[in-house]
């Protein structure tokens, strides 16, 4: 179960929080840099609409009011959770909960090397 009028867990358990600041441009730059393409919508959205001529009303405007309200509620719940995370103070440089580690590549010339044998 998850997010509806409020942000919830897989089992519908509620999550608490406050407001959020949106930074769409920065976000898009970050996701591009980090290959987090999943977060980029497949349909054209505000960034493109801002520069394109207004041919028709944005898709969002065509949505029923009840749906729009629910999406707004869920956005607010997301913003509240993000606010709680942003406001939580951590010591500078504190670690993340996982550790990146470099992976040793086989040496050239050793069995299994993709670059062939020793000259």
């Amino acid at each position: 179960m998850k997010r509806a009028g409020r942000r919830t867990s897989r089992t519908g358990r509620a999550v608490e929080g406050g407001d959020a600041v949106k930074s769409r441009r920065r976000f898009l730059k970050l996701v591009a840099l980090t290959s987090a393409a999943a977060l980029v919508p497949a349909t054209p959205r505000r960034t493109r609409a801002a520069t394109a001529p207004k041919k028709s009303a944005p898709a969002a405007a065509a949505r029923p009011a009840a749906l729009e309200n629910e999406i707004k509620k869920q956005k607010n719940a997301t913003a509240q959770a993000l606010k709680a995370i942003r406001e939580f103070e951590l010591p500078p440089g504190s670690e993340m909960a996982f550790v990146f580690s470099a992976q040793r590549a086989p040496r050239r010339g050793k069995p299994g090397s993709s670059k062939g044998g020793k000259p």
Binding site: T11, A20, L33, A97
Partner: protein
């Protein structure tokens, strides 16, 4: 051999296993009896995604032949079970509960399915689940390609999710045990609402290879069964390092426990019962606590570390789920999901920035640190599982569970902690109530010891739903 009566179908695995080993119970007859029950009750409960009668008969026959020849593979040999429909099974549909995955078939078995087959267990079918295990959100029980899963205790009630069919099938006597998964609550919730015993293992304890990814760093695979003793047998068969899952742990798959209960110290986290929708919730929890004290478990009230754990869990799970299900968003098939808002999750979460996600990962580290400190003072945490019984199948889950923030679930899943869900009686409408015991990583053995000791003193776990003949 004797004819299979209904009581046998509700017997715990360890009892069935004893009878099978002694050749007093035929795996073939047991399998046929479960298949007949699946045919009869599966559609009424919406518990089964796909029955696999041919495979089950073949595996049961093989088990019977092997046992007849003196080759006993272990306590799951000849035991029929069901697997949540997110574990891949070669040549059998695996549809993840989602309309956009209709007809999806993989060419290999998930590691846990392979391990159970090697242990001689008999696969009866794939079990219903919430679409994408709830990774893109849902608010009603019908967010599943198989329809709302109905609770055997009252078919107007939901089973909980996302391992809905696993809870229903075990509770309703359609399988001897089931495999489920938990990202946040998906084993403990159906266990609580269906009156079953479930274990959410430590993250990495059980291989996720071949299981649908909802959230890479939160998904856990575990059993739902009729007793703690059963869960110990199942975990022993499925746990352990798997080269196909780099996050699987190399810790020995040893669930014997063995610590004296009188030497353990428990943190009692009673939660705010003023928010309980079920008037019997407090009494049921108090009853459980009294029994635990009677077992010699030392308990004192304690507060869990206060951190933005639910927010961290929600943010990381959401980001990982958006990535996991990206292709359905891109190809537009996401509109086939039943939850009307799932398709909008990419838009809804567009405010999530890269630095937010990194911050969430840093806070997760802090949560782990503080939780580790907490376990320096306590061996386990005892807390209610839910403050309500199963909601109606048509209820908005957010409304039905309003006010319950699940602090133990947030910490437990964020830190990858094991927990056992145990039944503790029935509520005012005759629906199951339960509680959980959570421990530090890799302490499943201790939790199972406590669960087994509790179930030796009580009979809550043996209660059967009043399904009409």
């Amino acid at each position: 051999m004797s004819a299979i009566d209904e009581a046998t179908l509700f017997a715990p695995v360890w009892q069935l296993s004893d009878r099978i080993r002694q050749r007093k119970l035929s795996p073939v007859e047991l399998t046929e009896a479960y298949l007949a029950r699946i045919e009869r009750w599966g559609p009424k409960l919406n518990a089964i995604a796909f029955a696999t009668p041919e495979l089950a008969r073949e595996q049961a026959k093989q088990a019977e032949t092997e046992i007849g020849r003196g080759k006993w593979r272990g306590p799951l040999h000849g035991i029929p079970y069901g697997a949540k429909d997110l574990f891949s099974t070669a040549g059998i549909p695996t549809e993840w509960g989602a309309g956009c995955c209709r007809g999806q078939v993989f060419d290999r078995d998930a590691t846990v399915v392979t391990r159970l087959r090697d242990a001689g267990a008999v696969l009866l079918g794939k079990l219903a689940m919430i679409e994408f295990a709830g990774g893109l959100g849902y608010r009603k029980a019908d967010a599943s390609s198989t329809g709302p899963c109905r609770n055997p205790w009252d078919r107007t009630r939901w089973t909980g999710g996302s391992s809905s069919g696993s809870g229903a099938a075990v509770s309703g006597g359609l399988v001897a045990f089931a495999l489920g998964t938990e990202t946040w609550g998906s084993i403990l919730c159906p266990s609580a609402f269906c009156g079953t015993t479930g274990v959410r293992p430590t993250y990495g304890r059980v291989s996720r290879a071949g299981a649908m990814v909802c959230s890479n760093t939160y998904d856990k695979v575990g059993p739902i069964a009729r007793s703690a003793r059963d869960c110990r047998l199942i975990l022993s068969a499925i746990a352990g390092r798997d080269p196909d899952d780099p996050t699987s742990s190399a810790e020995p798959a040893d669930f014997r426990g063995g610590r004296a209960i009188a030497s353990l110290r428990a943190a009692l986290v009673p939660l705010d019962f003023s928010k309980a929708r079920e008037p019997e919730a407090r009494a049921a929890f108090d009853r459980a606590v009294t029994e635990l004290r009677g077992m010699g478990l030392a308990m004192e009230e304690a507060k869990l570390p206060e951190l933005p754990t639910a927010e961290v869990a929600g943010t990381i799970i959401t980001a990982e789920a958006l990535s996991a299900f990206e292709r359905f968003h891109k190809d537009g098939s996401i509109v086939k999901l039943h939850d009307p808002y799932a398709r909008y999750q990419w838009e809804i979460n567009e405010g999530l920035r890269g630095d937010d996600l990194v911050k969430a990962w840093r806070v997760r580290h802090e949560i782990q640190r503080r939780t580790t400190e907490f376990f320096a003072d306590y061996d386990v945490i005892v807390t209610p599982n839910f403050l309500t019984t199963a909601p109606g199948v048509d209820e908005d889950i957010n409304v039905a569970l309003d006010g319950y923030t699940d602090p133990a679930g947030a910490i437990g899943n964020t830190c990858g902690l094991p927990s056992i869900a145990l039944p503790s009686g029935l509520g005012s409408r005759g629906l199951p109530l339960g509680f959980q015991i959570m421990g530090p990583p890799f302490e499943e053995g201790t939790l199972l010891d406590l669960g087994e000791a509790f179930q030796k003193r009580t009979s809550f776990h043996t209660a059967r739903p009043p399904m009409e003949a």
